[in-house]
Symmetry: C2
DNA sequence: TTCTTCTATCGCTATTTGACGATGGAGTAG
DNA sequence: CTACTCCATCGTCAAATAGCGATAGAAGAA
């Protein structure tokens, strides 16, 4: 994953409300979680929640699927898992490079 | 790690230049990497780089230590490793909760 | 002391973000 | 057809962010 893409995803996750939305979607029963449901879990206006959802959508972290009269949202588990791997790799990679310098010095 | 803290760190990482700075610090030889060194690796003004460094400092991702006449920076490997664990846990946790719903449905 | 280097900070501007209410289109129910 | 619900989008505002040049203080060098 490119640094630019990674930064985009990170920025999308860089707001506590958006992390909350991800958790709400993870806890909700299979697929039938619409914007109104999420809004009722948060002390925010519907339009604000909709905006945050859009950010997560654009970052590819969630997906939308029409469910009768509603738009329902669910996590994109594949992307989340890939992200977990990328982050873990990035951070331990950085830490490892750092450690290598120290070792090299000895 | 709290969602608020996690979001703060994510936001700090949500800019490609700051990711670059982390990589630069990881590659640089032991400890003697000052603001000017970083600036020379980037197409940005020194003041701008200094600001980005401050963001990383405030997020606790790097640390400053005076080295003679300069201020040198290095990664906080402990924090990075902790972050790797936290991210990995968060993402796989979300994905797992999502998968559990599907299984429960069956 | 005087000079030079380093760099954090200030002031400024332009852009982006976060929040809100209002609105209108799409679709269901009656 | 007539409600009614859902919700994405628009317009607006305040605040934060990202960029720059200028500057001043700290500290080593001469």
């Amino acid at each position: 994953m490119q640094d630019t893409d990674l930064a985009n995803v990170m920025r999308a996750l860089g707001h506590p409300v958006r992390l909350s939305i991800l958790r709400i979607l993870a806890d909700q029963k299979q697929g039938d979680c619409c914007c109104t449901d999420v809004t009722q879990c948060l002390p925010l206006a519907q339009s604000t929640v909709s905006q945050h959802i859009k950010v997560l959508l654009d970052a590819g972290l969630i997906e939308r699927h029409a469910r009768g009269t509603r738009n329902c949202y669910s996590l994109r588990s594949d992307r989340l898992e890939a992200l977990g791997v990328a982050c873990s790799g990035l951070f331990t990679g950085l830490a490892a490079a750092d450690a290598a310098k120290v070792a090299e010095l000895a």
